[in-house]
C-alpha cells in the first residue's frame, strides 16, 4: 500500500480534486470563524490536553472506576483486546437475543473493527444511519473522512445512487430532496430495528456514563426505539469528571465543522427501564500506542477531523488514498503504530507544514510525530529501495560542502542545456505535474562571495 500510488486516480481528475480541496477548506474556514469568536480558545486547548494527559497517566484506574459506575447504573461492560473479540462480543449479544436487524450510528471504531461485514456474514442486517455513512454503505465503500464520510462524493452521484436504491426521480440532485428520501427510508429502518449500535465520543469515569454527539439525531433514534443499545468505545475515550465535558463539548464541534455544538449531545447513564445497555471497551492496538513514549500523545485524539480538513495532502489526495479507516495526519500516526510495514508510506504523505498541529484541539504535536515516524521507517528499512538509494545519495552530497557546490554547478548547467526528454521522464516523478524552475546562472554562494569582498 503506497499513498502516492493510491492517490494517483484521485489526482488524475483535476476538477474533482480541486472541488474536494475547496469543500474541505470551506470547513476549515468555518472552524476558524467559530474559533476566533471565542477568546478562551487557547486556554480550552490547554485544559483539554492536560485533562487527556492526566487521564492517560491513570488510565487503568479510570477504566475500573468507569466500569464500576456503569455497572452500578445497570449497564453491562465488556472488554475486547482486538477487533475480532469486539465483533464476537457484539455478535454474541445479538445472537443470544435473536436480533436480525440493527441500526448503527457513526462509529469509527466499528469501522476499524470491520463490524459491518462480520455481522452481515452472520445474517444480521446492519444499516448505517448517518446520512453520509449510509451513502458510502450503499456504494459499498468506506468513509473517506472520520466526520464527513461522503465528502468525496458529488450530489449527482448521490442522486444516481438514490434513484437506483430508493427510486428518487432520475437526475434529481437537490440535497434537500435527496435527504428527505433518505429520512423516509431510514425512519422505517429505525422503527424496525431490534438493536442500536453507537460509538462513544466521551465516557466519564466518575459517573459511568458516556456522551454521543450527532447533528442528525440518528444515534438518539437508534437508542430510544429498540430495547438493546450496544456502545463500542476505544479505551482512550475516557475523561475523569462530568464537568470535563464542558471543555470537550466546547472544542469538538467547533473544531470539526465550525458549529458551536452538535445538534444532539446525549448523555447515556444506564439503560432505559426494561431495556439493556452494553458497553464494549476496546483496546485493538491502543495499549501499544500507550507503550510508545514518542507516539502516546496521539491517544488524546477526540476524532474531530480538524487535522484532515486543514491538511494540504489530505485535501488534494482524498481519504481513500490512505487505505485505512482513519486517514489524514492523525491516521498517518496511529496506523503505522499498528502495522508499520503496511502503512510505511503514510508519514510521508505530509509536507510537514504543521497546520494540523495548529488546529488540533487537544494539542497533539502531529507534524513532529509524523517526522519521528519517518525516522523509524527509514531505520527499519521499510522505505522503497529506490527512494532509500536516492536519500543516501542526497545525504552523501549534502554533508560534503565541496560535493554540494560541485553538484549545484553541474545541475545549473545541465538543466539549461539538457533536452526536455532527459529531464522530464519516468525517473523524475516530481516533474510529472510540475515544471522545474529555470536555474540561475550563479549560485547564492558565488554571488555572496563576490559581493562580500566588494563591500569591505
Amino acid at each position: 500500500m503506497d499513498h502516492a500510488i493510491a492517490a494517483a486516480d484521485f489526482v488524475a481528475d483535476d476538477a474533482h480534486a480541486h472541488w474536494h480541496d475547496q469543500a474541505l477548506w470551506f470547513i476549515r474556514a468555518k472552524r476558524d470563524k467559530c474559533v476566533h469568536g471565542l477568546p478562551e480558545w487557547e486556554e480550552l486547548r490547554d485544559r483539554a490536553a492536560a485533562i487527556k494527559q492526566h487521564t492517560i497517566s491513570h488510565l487503568a484506574d479510570y477504566l475500573e472506576q468507569f466500569e464500576r459506575n456503569a455497572t452500578r447504573l445497570g449497564a453491562v461492560v465488556h472488554w475486547a483486546r482486538d477487533a475480532a473479540e469486539h465483533n464476537a462480543i457484539v455478535h454474541g449479544l445479538l445472537r443470544e437475543r435473536g436480533v436480525r436487524r440493527i441500526v448503527k450510528s457513526k462509529s469509527m471504531l466499528t469501522e476499524e473493527c470491520g463490524l459491518n461485514p462480520y455481522l452481515e456474514s452472520h445474517g444480521v442486517e446492519v444499516v448505517d444511519t448517518d446520512l453520509g455513512e449510509w451513502i458510502v454503505q450503499l456504494r459499498h465503500e468506506h468513509p473517506s473522512h472520520i466526520v464527513l464520510p461522503a465528502i468525496h462524493i458529488k450530489k449527482e452521484e448521490v442522486g444516481e445512487l438514490f434513484h437506483r436504491e430508493l427510486g428518487t426521480d432520475k437526475g434529481a440532485t437537490d440535497p434537500t430532496y435527496l435527504t428527505e428520501a433518505a429520512r423516509q427510508r431510514l425512519r422505517e429502518k429505525f422503527l424496525a430495528a431490534e438493536a442500536g449500535i453507537t460509538g462513544v465520543n466521551f465516557a466519564v469515569a466518575e459517573t459511568g456514563g458516556f456522551v454521543v454527539c450527532t447533528n442528525e439525531g440518528n444515534s438518539d433514534l437508534g437508542t430510544s426505539l429498540p430495547k438493546i443499545h450496544i456502545a463500542s468505545m476505544g479505551i482512550e475515550k475516557l475523561v475523569p469528571r462530568l464537568s470535563d465535558l464542558g471543555v470537550f463539548l466546547r472544542l469538538l464541534a467547533r473544531s470539526a465543522t465550525g458549529q458551536p455544538i452538535t445538534a444532539y449531545s446525549t448523555h447515556y447513564h444506564g439503560p432505559r427501564p426494561g431495556c439493556e445497555l452494553h458497553i464494549v471497551l476496546v483496546d485493538n492496538g491502543r495499549t501499544n500506542l500507550l507503550a510508545s513514549e514518542e507516539f502516546r500523545n496521539s491517544l488524546r485524539c477526540i476524532r474531530c477531523g480538524a487535522c484532515l480538513n486543514t491538511c494540504p495532502v489530505y485535501r488534494r489526495s482524498g481519504g481513500h488514498s490512505y487505505g485505512v479507516t482513519i486517514a489524514g495526519p492523525i491516521g498517518s500516526i496511529i496506523n503505522p503504530a499498528r502495522d508499520a510495514e503496511k502503512h510505511h508510506s503514510l508519514p510521508f504523505a505530509c509536507s510537514l507544514c504543521g497546520s494540523c498541529t495548529d488546529v488540533c484541539p487537544v494539542k497533539i504535536d502531529l507534524h513532529s510525530q509524523l517526522l519521528a515516524w519517518r525516522k523509524h521507517i527509514v531505520a527499519r528499512k521499510l522505505m522503497k529501495s529506490s527512494k532509500r538509494r536516492l536519500m543516501w545519495f542526497a545525504g552523501a552530497v549534502l554533508k560534503r560542502p565541496r560535493a554540494y557546490a560541485a553538484a549545484g554547478r553541474v545541475a545549473r548547467t545541465a538543466l539549461r542545456i539538457a533536452p526536455r526528454w532527459l529531464v522530464y521522464n519516468r525517473f523524475n516523478p516530481w516533474g510529472r505535474q510540475r515544471e522545474l524552475p529555470t536555474p540561475p546562472k550563479q549560485s547564492f554562494r558565488d554571488w555572496y562571495s563576490r559581493n562580500e569582498t566588494r563591500n569591505e
Binding site: I51, H54, R81, Y264
Partner: protein, 205 residues
C-alpha cells in the same frame, strides 16, 4: 488464562506515563451581557426559532399558532396546563407508538447562551424518543434558567442534583441545539435529517 479485562489493564499498567496533574475548571470563560439575546441569536443561526414569552396565555397563543402553521394533527404534550395535546404519552408503553406524532411540546431544563443548547431529560417525559421522533418539537424553558457557557451548565447540573451528582441513578440527558440537520451531501445544509424538522424554544417568564 487471564481474561481480556485483566490483560488490557495489565498492559496499561505496564506502560503508564508519569503522572500528569488534573487541571481545575475555574477560568475566565466568556460571559454575555445579555445571555438571553445571545441564546436567541445562536439558536436562529443553528436553524431554530426562539422567543421570550410572558405568561401562559401568550404561550398558548404562540403554540396554537404553530399548530395551525404546521398543520399538526397528532400532538403530544407533557405540559397540559399550556396545551392539552391528543397523544397521551403516559398511556404508552412502546416508544414506537409515538411514530405518528407531528408536534411534541416538551420541557427543557436549562438554556446555554453560548451555543443555544437546551438540556432535556426524562424527568417529566416517560418516552425519551418523543424528543427525537416527533416531526416538530417545542421546548419550554423557564427564562431564568439560562447560563453563559457549558462550564456553567455542568455546574448547574451538579448544584441541582446535590450530593450524589446528576447521574446517581440511571438517567439520560441531551443538550439539544437547534433542529436535526445534515450537510452530508456536498456540504449543503439541510434541516430535518432524522430528528425534529423544526425546533421552537420558548423562554417563559
Amino acid at each position: 488464562m487471564p481474561s481480556s479485562r485483566e490483560r488490557i489493564l495489565r498492559d496499561i499498567r505496564q506502560h503508564l506515563p508519569v503522572d500528569a496533574a488534573l487541571p481545575s475548571h475555574a477560568g475566565k470563560w466568556t460571559r454575555y451581557e445579555d445571555p438571553t439575546q445571545q441564546f436567541l441569536n445562536v439558536l436562529s443561526s443553528v436553524g431554530g426559532v426562539g422567543k421570550v414569552v410572558a405568561g401562559h396565555l401568550p404561550l398558548r397563543e404562540e403554540i396554537y399558532c404553530l399548530v395551525d402553521q404546521l398543520e399538526a394533527r397528532q400532538i403530544c404534550s407533557v405540559l397540559p396546563e399550556v396545551i392539552p395535546g391528543n397523544v397521551d404519552m403516559a398511556a404508552i408503553d412502546d416508544p414506537h407508538d409515538l411514530a405518528a406524532v407531528d408536534l411534541a411540546i416538551l420541557p427543557g431544563e436549562l438554556a446555554v447562551a453560548e451555543n443555544a443548547a437546551v438540556w432535556v431529560t426524562g424527568a417529566h417525559v416517560p418516552q425519551r424518543v418523543a424528543y427525537f421522533l416527533s416531526q416538530h418539537v417545542v421546548l419550554i424553558v423557564p427564562a431564568d434558567r439560562i447560563v453563559n457557557n457549558m462550564h456553567e451548565a455542568y455546574d448547574w447540573l451538579h448544584r441541582e442534583a446535590g450530593a450524589g451528582g446528576p447521574f446517581a441513578s440511571p438517567r439520560w440527558g441531551t443538550f439539544m441545539s437547534g433542529p436535526s440537520k445534515t450537510a452530508d451531501i456536498e456540504q449543503a445544509l439541510v434541516i430535518g435529517a432524522h430528528g425534529a424538522r423544526s425546533l421552537h424554544v420558548y423562554l417563559t417568564t
